[in-house]
């Protein structure tokens, strides 16, 4: 028995799929932005000598890096639900992705901070810069540049992992694909198109990232 492809129905539903793709991009962009902000703070906390700062940061990083994303999404959706905190599918997936992104990026940022020579600090201070100026003009620009590639990788990871939204009925690309194929039974067609869309989204993200880095990062480190 041969499988017969019928693409018509898929093309009719393309607007819904594109909408799903938009939600996918939306949730991963947001999870990166919030994740980066938290990771900067966690990285600073983790490098602190005071255990009340470094310990919580370490715990966060260890859990985020050593448990499956699936489990974290379940915890955010069903786990918190058991305590009466009911998140929407979107919010649950977003919090889980933020949690993991922050965990991974903390280590990336810490490595970034530590890779900047101590002499950059003393040189900046000797010019009379305050600590805020030192970080804003000298350290952070160099750090972001060093960690730019790991950061884009993390972004791609977020896009792909947001597909776990399918498990909590989120209307991102996978969830939308699942819903549409179950109505039409054109399973293979829908999932092939969705896979192509994921591929295009990540390629688009990597391409834009490369373009931005060319525009923003001048000189060499």
């Amino acid at each position: 028995m041969e499988y017969e492809f019928h693409w018509n129905i898929v093309f009719q539903k393309l607007p819904q799929l594109l909408n799903g793709a938009f939600v996918t991009l939306h949730v991963s962009v947001l999870s990166m932005l919030i994740g980066i902000a938290i990771a900067v703070l966690l990285a600073i906390a983790k490098m602190s000598d005071a255990r009340i700062f470094s310990l919580p940061a370490t715990v966060w990083v260890e859990i985020a890096r050593n448990t499956p994303a699936l489990f974290q999404i379940y915890m955010a959706y069903f786990g918190l639900g058991a305590f009466g905190i009911h998140l929407s599918p979107y919010a649950a997936v977003l919090s889980a992705l933020v949690f993991v992104n922050a965990g991974y990026l903390t280590e990336t940022f810490r490595g970034g901070f530590q890779s900047i020579p101590k002499t950059q600090y003393s040189a900046s201070k000797s010019l009379g810069m305050s600590s805020t100026q030192l970080y804003r003009y000298i350290i952070l620009p160099q750090m972001f540049r060093r960690i730019y590639h790991p950061m884009t990788n993390q972004f791609v990871w977020s896009i792909l992992m947001s597909s776990l939204g399918i498990l909590v009925g989120m209307n991102e690309l996978s969830g939308e694909t699942q819903r549409l194929q179950s109505l039409s039974f054109r399973t293979l067609e829908f999932f092939i198109v969705a896979a192509v869309m994921y591929f295009l989204i990540t390629k688009f993200v990597l391409f834009s990232a490369a373009l931005i880095s060319q525009k923003v990062f001048k000189g060499e480190l």
Binding site: A123, S126, Q142, R145, F217, G219, E220
Partner: protein, 241 residues
């Protein structure tokens, strides 16, 4: 004037400076020589408050450097420093390297900051490299950039920490020439250096550091040409031969 009075400095249990007294008057050039680990760099870091001290005082003009209320960022505007390892800001062009601090620290307008920076860069012979990135330049050029970057802050004093010792021999001359030029401009300088001939030529005073104290200090004709102390004689015969 910089007055260093009975300064003691330790890193943990290791006492690196064991009572340093030194005065540097306006317009003077003081060279500091001495063996590795004798505390020369540490003293410079103490003068601009990058390091704390445990005892004694350092006064720069009227400012007590390590007193509680002292604004260290303000103090450092008076003191330019250039380090052994050149440390230009790699993500900024030559011009940005030299104009950043005047703009954000001295709050000059962008135009004024660029003007000041250009002037100093021309002064050290980097006028044709303004848009270059430092990583593409030689060590000698980067060291001259570091000097211009410090000068653009209009400091009253310059501290040099072995600014030629990480350079290839053929690049040492251009940096020493820049220091000579500063001396001729009347800049007050403390130069930690291994270049004994240079110290002899440019200094008003030479201080020989030995195991955390100033073993001998005086005009170069004394300390370098005719050292009185045995430790000085030993050190010089080692580095000169």
């Amino acid at each position: 004037m910089i007055q260093i009075q009975n300064v003691h400095k330790s890193f943990g249990d290791l006492e690196v400076l064991k009572g340093i007294d030194l005065e540097v008057n306006r317009g003077e050039v003081v060279s500091v020589i001495g063996g590795s680990g004798s505390g020369k760099s540490t003293l410079l870091y103490c003068i601009n408050a990058i390091e704390d001290i445990q005892q004694g005082r350092i006064i720069v003009d009227d400012i007590d450097v390590h007193a509680k209320g002292t604004n260290r960022d303000k103090l450092r505007q008076k003191l330019g420093m250039v380090f052994q390892q050149w440390n230009s800001f790699p993500h900024l062009t030559v011009l940005e390297n030299a104009s950043l601090a005047p703009r954000i620290v001295l709050k000059l307008s962008k135009k004024e900051a660029i003007e000041v920076a250009k002037k100093e860069l021309n002064h050290v012979g980097l006028g044709d490299k303004l848009d270059e990135y430092p990583t593409r330049m030689s060590g000698g050029q980067q060291q001259r950039l570091a000097i211009a970057r410090a000068l653009a802050m209009r400091p009253d004093y310059m501290l040099f920490d072995e600014v030629t010792s990480a350079l290839d021999p053929e690049l040492v001359g251009e940096v020493l020439d820049t220091l000579r030029m500063l001396r001729d401009d009347g800049m007050t300088m403390i130069c930690v250096t291994h270049e004994i001939a240079f110290a002899r030529e440019v200094s008003d005073k030479v201080a020989f550091f030995h195991q955390g104290i100033i073993e001998e200090i005086g005009p170069p004709e004394q300390v370098i040409v005719n050292p009185q102390r045995e430790a000085t004689q030993k050190f010089l015969s080692k580095v000169l031969h």
